[in-house]
């Protein structure tokens, strides 16, 4: 539907839905980014000079990064706006 009526995109509910989808996606990826940045910092500290001594004594182990290998998980879920009978009564998320 959006492809056929481009003006839908800019205004009204579709625009709001798009904004919410973008925001949700961003929140997830920023949370992952923060975790990975912090884990990387922690791992770096374990190997750098003054702190590696303490890390050795405390038996600190490097933290795992949160990587997504599965491409299906990484892919952005597509949003189906076609109001076909059988696909539910409204817009549905296709995972």
């Amino acid at each position: 539907v959006v492809e056929q009526y481009p003006q839908l995109k800019a205004t009204g509910n579709v625009g709001q839905l798009q904004e919410e989808l973008t925001s949700t996606e961003n929140r997830i990826s920023f949370a992952r980014q923060l975790y990975n940045d912090t884990a990387t910092l922690y791992n770096t500290k374990q190997q750098q000079f003054p702190t590696n001594l303490v890390a050795g004594m405390a038996k600190a182990a490097p933290a795992d990064l949160w990587e997504i290998e599965d491409h299906a998980q990484r892919a952005v879920p597509a949003v189906d706006f076609s109001l076909k009978p059988g696909s539910g009564s409204g817009p549905a998320l296709k995972a």
Binding site: E19, S23, F30, A31, T38
Partner: protein, 347 residues
Amino acid sequence: VSAESLNLFQQQEANRRRTTWLVIGFILFFAWLGFGGDFIVSRYTATAPPEAYHHQVPWIGALLTLVAVILAVYAYRTGPEKVLWATGARELDAPRSDAERQLVNVVEEMAIAAGLPRPRIWLVPDHDPNAFATGRDPARSHLAVTEGLLAVCNRDELQGVIGHELGHIKNLDVRLMTTLAALVGAVLLIQDGVLRALRGGARLGGGGGAGGGGRGGKKGGAGPLLAILVVVWVLSWLLAPLITQVLALAVSRKREYLADAMAAQFTRNPLALASALEKIEHSHEPTRAIKRGAAHLCIADPLGRRLTNREGFLADALATHPPMAMRISRLKGMGYAQLKRESGQTV
């Protein structure tokens, strides 16, 4: 990227320490104004005849120091509210338009990226794009943007600007700069009041002025040291606002680069902030809602001063912000390095 996070704790510690020194310096300065005055008056009245007034109790100094302590505590406590009040900002608690909804979303996203609690969001009714953050600590911080910024920036650029402000919050820059803003405001206010009182006093005491001059002439033998002291004392009264301004400048320039770098770390998109800065730069209008006292809090100099465009000794001494061109070129450098890395990975 992680070079900035490595010295985050040092940066926070430095800002805590600087805030403390700022408050101590402020109180000491007022103590000097007060006790210096006491000393001068006591020297002048020391040779007065026995029945005349002798200034022995340094009550001016005690009073001014007390006022300074109260002011500093008050400034530290209510600084954020005062700054927001001075800019006429209104809190955005229930977004009414799509642009406001987007702003709330972007702030929440960037708070996640920065690992901070979400700051309270304020809108400044002004058409010039600008933004600032204030607050005492990350848990109770405020983030304000102008309506012009919402109109001018796209989503990515808004992210860059908000990331920059959250960088200031995370560094505890906001504590130092807000306290400074409140103290600058207090000094300006006091000086205005004192000057008005002096002018009023001069007008009232116009007849007595000649007699006063004669009395001063008789004490001419008090010594050159005292004369120098008097000159320095009067100068420090007159220069107080200038000194606080220079302090505000010295405090704010380096950390703009740092906050830019942190925004790049949070968004992973330095080019968006660079283009936002270009847009802010190209709107030549000064941000009228933001007054002098809060200028150093903003992402770009709200007064639109020409000094901000230059490097060099004078600009280094007098501008609150580093030259926009330098900031933009640094961000672009980061952006291109990132693009290079990414293309290297995919090949």
